[in-house]
């Protein structure tokens, strides 16, 4: 695609928006960016873009800004039904996402991983597995480095492992993964996709441009995934925690088995997996599928999986203080992720819940709360809604994360778990879920330091 001299508008100044704008400017496009955030909210971004001769519109989307463009590139955070975008589409202006922009330039083989939960873990793990085979591997996408930033370094031999969200898939045209993985499809982001059918359809677009020599990797334990198998031309491989599959990876007894086109082989014992939680077994299975399909030696896969620790903010162990374990699952920005987090611990959970509501139904948590959770501490703007829907466990309105943590640590007894798995977006009180997770971890570390100091001085006092 030739963009030299073209007028291109980039909508949304997230990581991928900035990367896209700079990429386009480097290729000689005349670039403008538009974001509804005010200038004060973008203190670092705006000067960076202005320095490169990019025109910045901040605080609103100008209706006319969208009219006079030859191409519009939108960031994942931008709803596709913004009126200005609808008008632009009507006027015949091509509107694509950052992933699609990258797809037009990227060389190499793409492994694309989507799903409602587990994308980040699976993407990171699959990336490490493929890298272990010695091939040049780039890992990014929705998390970390935007796909567009790989264009410079990728060659025909490169493997690019990308986490892609349903939002990104909504705006693809030619994006063509060699291996496309759908982990699971559960209600999430209904505030933007409006219906579950729309959401599942967006996920299924990952197969859209695949051919018969490509691979689709699907979760055999997920009904929506099973229904997707008909929609792809690619060779379908399954993964399952619960049953044997025709082709793919599954758990049999206490081992992970790979059943390829030609032969069947054991990859590794389940017990060697260092990630916690049953959902992580599914993520490992999906990553094993990707690795095997990419031609990685099973011995490498076994070694990587055995050494692979949790991804930051994804059910991440932080510390143990007075026998209470603290876990950071700030990336649980929806109810389903919170369910998976709760399923990882049998009982004694003190759950910090809340943030910015995404139109979720929190009552689905109730049976788990009743069985596994001692107390719920609500934070953020969703607190009132959560308090009205949640039953089966005592609910404490804590307001802020430090208050919630203090109250939880006061009432927790040894053997309990304090878990941040808020089921909500973070934007009411934090910049991002990463920010929320880091604040949580810092607070826990401070508590730990105080505790150690206290214990130290108590010992000193005892001696004297």
């Amino acid at each position: 695609m030739e963009v030299k001299g073209k007028r291109v508008l980039v909508v949304g100044l997230g990581k991928s928006g900035i990367a896209s704008a700079l990429f386009l400017a480097d290729r000689g496009a005349r670039v403008a960016v538009s974001d509804t955030k005010s200038e004060e909210e973008l203190p670092r971004e705006i000067p960076l873009l202005l320095d490169r001769g990019i025109v910045v519109e901040a605080g609103y989307h100008g209706e006319r800004t969208f009219k006079e463009q030859e191409l519009i590139v939108i960031s994942p955070g931008v709803p596709a039904d913004v009126p200005q975008l609808l008008q632009a589409r009507q006027a015949g202006i091509p509107v694509i996402g950052e992933v699609e922009l990258a797809a037009r330039y990227l060389k190499g083989k793409i492994v694309a991983i989507t799903g409602s939960n587990g994308k980040t873990t699976t993407t990171t793990l699959a990336g490490e597995i493929i890298a272990a085979s010695g091939r040049q591997t780039l890992v990014g996408g929705n998390i970390g480095t935007p796909a567009i930033s790989f264009v410079e370094s990728a060659t025909d031999e490169t493997w690019i492992v990308l986490e892609v969200s349903s939002f990104q898939l909504e705006t693809i045209e030619t994006f063509h993964p060699k291996i496309a993985v759908v982990l699971n499809v559960t209600p999430d982001h209904l505030d933007r996709h409006h219906t579950f059918a729309n959401y599942a359809a967006a996920k299924a677009r990952i197969f859209e441009n695949q051919a018969s020599n490509d691979f689709a990797v699907l979760n055999a334990d997920d009904a929506t995934c099973i229904a997707m198998a008909d929609k792809t031309k690619a060779g379908v491989y399954w993964f399952s925690r619960q049953r044997e599959v025709d082709h793919g990876a599954f758990v049999s007894g206490d081992s992970i088995i790979w059943r390829g086109a030609a032969k069947e082989q054991a990859v590794m014992p389940i017990a060697e997996i260092s990630l916690k939680g049953t959902h992580n077994v599914e993520n490992v299975l999906a990553a094993v599928c990707s690795g095997m399909l990419a031609g990685v030696d099973p011995a490498h896969i076994r070694r990587i999986v055995a050494n692979f620790k949790a991804v930051e903010h994804r059910l991440e162990y932080v510390a143990t203080i007075r026998g209470v374990q603290y876990y950071n699952d700030s990336k649980a920005t929806n109810v389903d992720a919170t369910i998976k987090a709760l399923e990882s611990f049998p009982s004694g959970i003190h759950l910090i819940l809340g943030g910015k509501d995404k139109g979720s139904d929190y009552s689905v948590l109730n049976s788990l709360l009743e069985n596994r959770v001692k107390r719920v501490y609500t934070i953020g703007s969703a607190a009132a809604k959560i308090e009205s829907q949640v039953r089966g466990s005592e609910v404490v309105g804590a307001g802020t994360i430090d208050n919630a943590l203090r109250r939880a640590s006061e009432s927790a007894t040894p053997g309990d778990i304090v878990l941040l798995a808020p089921a909500c977006a973070s934007f009411d009180q934090f910049v991002s879920y990463e920010h929320r997770g880091r604040v949580f971890k810092d607070l826990v570390k401070q508590m730990e330091a105080r505790e150690l100091q206290h214990a130290g001085s108590a010992r000193a006092g005892g001696k004297g």
Binding site: G5, R7, L9, A25, G28, R30, V31, A32, D51, R52, G53, I54, V55, G62, E63, R64, T65, E68
Partner: protein, 363 residues
């Protein structure tokens, strides 16, 4: 620092060609008259050469100043205020040809109305940059955007110089159009201007005579029709190939102002249809490259500046050539880059320097 691309070579070349052609034609048109008046054939040429040199120097300097420097209110309003002051100031000077168009400072003289055009363009670009999206809000955007143009145009009409006032409004309209003004407001503006135009034309006898002369020049061939008839004779004498440089007869005291407002008639006579068409082609390229620069730029401020400057040159060229060809009643508007006249040439060249700078920006 913004990455820079080279200046638009088409625009740059066209401008230099027009200036060069202008110098040749000014000499050809004025040599005999200059010898009569000053005893040297080169008198007008040398003065014009001086202004062209200064103008091109100014253009090269301005071309290397980042246009974003001008988007400061202090610059915009100082420029606008200064221009207003000069336009009021001209009435204190003695009139020339019964008009108050000139300010004379020793040997130098210039028309403040020349400054009005860039001042209006700069103000429009500055004012509309942050408000153009709301241009449908006529009370808070359209009206305040057009107000200084109306004020300056009124002062220019008072000089009296209706042609330049009309050119100012045409430039304003072009910028407002690019900023997204609805066509119906253009209609309202046109309707609203009919009444003042009626009084300014029908009730001012020399203008009314020009209109009559424009409609039927041969009714009064030695009086009001003389100018148009002589111009048409020049054009028709030229034919396809022209009489050749310096060979024209009409400039020999038949055609008034052969080196200034009617220089295009002289071009048509001496260089024929080919020469006349060349000028049209050069201005067409200027228009195309100027509008292209404006439309491809993402920065609204740059878009409006580029549009205004392009319109400034093209509108004047269009009016001037139309007058010479008898397609419009006589107006005192020079042919940009070509007509003899220092302040016009200098200010036009400095203004296109801004346009050339905009072509260098990657955004």
């Amino acid at each position: 620092m913004a990455k820079r691309v080279s200046v638009d070579k088409w625009l740059f070349t066209v401008i230099l060609l027009l200036v060069f052609l202008g110098l040749i034609m000014v000499f050809s048109a004025s040599a005999v008259m200059a010898r009569e008046r000053f005893g040297s054939s080169y008198s007008f040429l040398l003065r014009q050469l001086g202004w062209a040199g200064a103008g091109i120097a100014a253009m090269l300097v301005v071309m290397n100043i980042d246009y974003k420097q001008y988007r400061r209110s202090s610059i915009v309003f100082t420029f606008l205020g200064f221009t207003c002051l000069l336009l009021v100031g001209v009435f204190l000077f003695h009139d020339s040809h019964n008009t108050h168009r000139w300010i004379k400072l020793g040997p130098l003289s210039f028309q403040p109305s020349e400054l009005a055009k860039p001042a209006i363009i700069l103000y429009l670009a500055y004012f509309l940059e942050s408000r153009w999206q709301q241009i449908a809000d006529w009370k808070h955007v359209l009206l305040p955007a057009a107000a200084p143009s109306l004020l300056l145009a009124a002062l220019i009409v008072k000089e009296p110089d209706l042609g330049t006032a009309v050119a100012c409004m045409a430039i304003t309209t072009s910028v407002l159009y690019i900023a997204g003004m609805k066509m119906r407001y253009l209609g309202y503006g046109f309707l609203a201007s009919l009444l003042p135009l009626y009084f300014l034309i029908v009730h001012v006898s020399y203008r009314w005579h020009r209109i009559i002369a424009f409609l039927d020049p041969w009714k009064d061939p030695q009086g009001h029709g003389f100018h148009i008839i002589q111009s048409m004779i020049a054009v028709s004498t030229g034919g396809l190939m022209g009489t050749g440089l310096m060979e024209g007869k009409q400039k020999l005291f038949y055609l008034p102002e052969p080196h200034t407002d009617f220089i295009y008639a002289n071009i048509a006579e001496e260089l024929g249809l080919w020469g006349a068409a060349l000028v049209v082609i050069l201005f067409s390229i200027f228009l195309y490259r100027g509008i292209r620069t404006a439309l491809r730029n993402q920065d609204p401020f740059a878009r409006f500046l580029a549009t205004g400057i392009t319109a400034m040159v093209v509108v004047q060229a269009l009016i001037n050539m139309s007058v010479v060809l008898g397609m419009m009643p006589t107006k005192g508007i020079p042919l940009p880059f070509i007509s003899y006249g220092g302040s016009s040439l200098f200010i036009t060249l400095a203004s296109v320097g801004v346009l050339l700078n905009i072509t260098q920006q990657t955004d």
